[in-house]
Symmetry: C2
Subunit: 355 residues, 2 copies
DNA sequence: CTGAAAGCGCTTACAG
DNA sequence: CTGAAAGCGCTTACAG
């Protein structure tokens, strides 16, 4: 090495030299440990400030023998709700990034149609040796019980995807559901004339977290009512997993005066898309729905779905792990509420989404 | 440390032990250096595969004495085009992340209204000791000259924000301009009836990179013509920096039959917003423009601007630095073309954008 | 073709 | 209250 004159980063050694102490003492000051006299502490702090010292996080990570274990508790993907796969993708990306820091993350999946599976895996987590758990709540009461147990055992918790009343220790990362509904209302308002017929389709009967869609619907209605344009708003509840039921309901609705806009409150918009694709004789209303799932994008490209509102489920999971990392390793504070961006996807920008 | 049983990461030492060689030899294989017999090389490769060895990038970064110097060459922010500040924000974020890796990045700003400033700083870069330069091209010819000089000196180049015909070595990260225009056309199509009057406002006369807006306009017209709905499309070129000119032109246009949609081809939509805000007596058409600038968002919240199409300028700069890091440190390949997401922002989702 | 040793910037017992 | 030394997982001259 004869590069000689190259500037090294200003590091802990330099501080020690300038302060006439050992690096161990500098380390004590940096990490706010005790056992340092006020005089030396102040001297070192001054030097840190003067030279604008920035710790090398990679060196820190390399030397610290962290033993962190994180758990992730989310629903498993089903055919009907490919949504959770996206969430898992982001989580897996996060897991890979944390591995080099010596952080082990274990994913636990539960069946969102079977509360017993939730209880079962949540107990596994309690008996495992975890420092924190990322939770996507579906079963409100059981999640509350679980979180209470976690806190007893000093297990940090953080919610993603949907918030519930009883608080986690580190907050919530996910969409603001009311705003999500309002945005759908906003888009709707550009599509129709005063007095238009609007049909809200809740293709969610049978899903446990069904209730949380109400917040979206409220936001939607609230926005439209506020415009005061005499819209005729109707709502239909349909089982989430039976195409025939959707078909029957839609055929019925279409007979009694076709709506101008169909607002599907969740990712099941592809089923509605399928209906209009298979019934080309029926004039298609504008169609708005949620989530960047393959089936949904498929009907978007066919021109059947007009707008998809998306909330980056992958980013939620990724960010949650990232926050845990920062909380434990960088000692930063928790989040409390991190609203995700709400994206509008059409046939002309879907191809650039999320890369 | 008496944690004893905790699993260490499987590392270079373990490979060395299993292969009965020294860690130096393992390193040679890992980094594809020569001076290793085929037999040992194969043995080591097998072990790497079998145990799915993942190098600790932070250890690597810590040990490697990299001497990388990057340059960034972008326009400086002006009152009229706060856009470049956003770009700079992302670049500064990237710079901070690269610092712990011992990478020094220097930002050079030029005046997009004065080509001499571009020539001047680009020469500084050539005489500095840089390994790569991130360029936001405005002056086509001068950029081409500069890039040619860079390549002579083995300086890697990468474009952001807008692409130009003569190639950089590492590609382009930015929006696809034609698609951006098409998306605006797509939104327009939802707002109007057949035969509607549409006015394209090119508030860019006097800007050097004026021409590149043509690509957007082409995409816009192309999309609308394709719909075959007898739209009446008009276009107006207006100086980019004089409100009075915008006012005069708009007053004139409004007299000869008010358009239904105004499409402003760049970030100057706030000036048009200002016009309608100051002329409440005039019926406002739908208003579509570009970029998440404070002034634009301001008129979005006032309900004057309807849609802002945004291309994450901060992310471009950040990604460009990230790619350089990966190219030099992780030895990954270049990009060639990385289209940015194209976002649609309205009064109901702007508050969650980009956090 | 191969290995022993030093070093990257930090943290962590341990000894005083 | 303080410091010397070992170690995190890699890379890099240097010696053979």
């Amino acid at each position: 090495m004869v590069d000689g004159k190259e500037k090294k980063n200003f590091g802990i050694k330099d501080i020690a030299r300038l302060a006439n102490v050992s690096i161990a003492t500098v380390d004590r000051v940096l990490n706010n440990r005790k056992d340092v006299s006020d005089a030396t502490r102040q001297k070192i702090k001054d030097i840190i400030k003067e030279y604008n010292y920035q710790p090398n996080l990679y060196a820190r990570s390399l030397s610290v023998k962290n033993n962190l274990n994180f758990a992730v508790l989310i629903p498993k993907t089903s055919l009907e709700t490919g949504y959770w796969q996206l969430c898992l993708d982001g989580i897996e990306k996060g897991i890979k990034e944390l591995e080099p820091f010596g952080i082990q993350t274990t994913v636990f999946l539960y069946d969102q149609e079977d509360v017993r599976t939730f209880v079962k895996v949540s107990e596994q987590i309690l008996h495992g040796n975890f420092n924190a758990v990322v939770i996507a709540p579906i079963f409100i009461k059981e999640t509350e019980d679980f979180v209470r147990q976690c806190h007893k055992r000093k297990l940090q918790t953080i919610y993603i995807n949907s918030d519930i009343p009883s608080k986690s220790t580190l907050g919530y990362i996910g969409p603001d559901l009311n705003s999500t509904g309002r945005l759908a209302g906003n888009l709707t308002s550009y599509l129709v004339n005063p007095g238009a017929k609007i049909l809200i389709l809740n293709v969610a009967k049978g899903l446990e977290n069904y209730k949380y869609l109400d917040t979206k619907i409220e936001g939607y209605k609230e926005y439209l009512h506020h415009l005061d344009r005499q819209f005729e708003i109707d709502i239909a509840d349909i089982p989430y997993n039976v195409y025939e039921e959707v078909e029957r309901e839609l055929l019925r609705k279409m007979k009694t005066g076709s709506p101008d806009v169909l607002f599907v409150t969740n990712s099941r918009v592809s089923v509605v898309g399928q209906f209009f694709y298979e019934h080309p004789e029926i004039t298609k209303p504008y169609l708005i729905g949620f989530d960047f799932l393959e089936a949904n994008v498929n009907y978007l490209t066919k021109g059947v779905v007009d707008f998809l509102i998306c909330q980056r489920p992958d980013k939620q999971g990724y960010l949650a792990l990232n926050y845990l990392y920062r909380f434990f390793l960088l000692k930063e504070d928790g989040v409390n509420f991190k609203p995700m961006p709400i994206d509008i996807i059409t046939i002309e920008n879907y191809m650039f989404y999320e890369n």
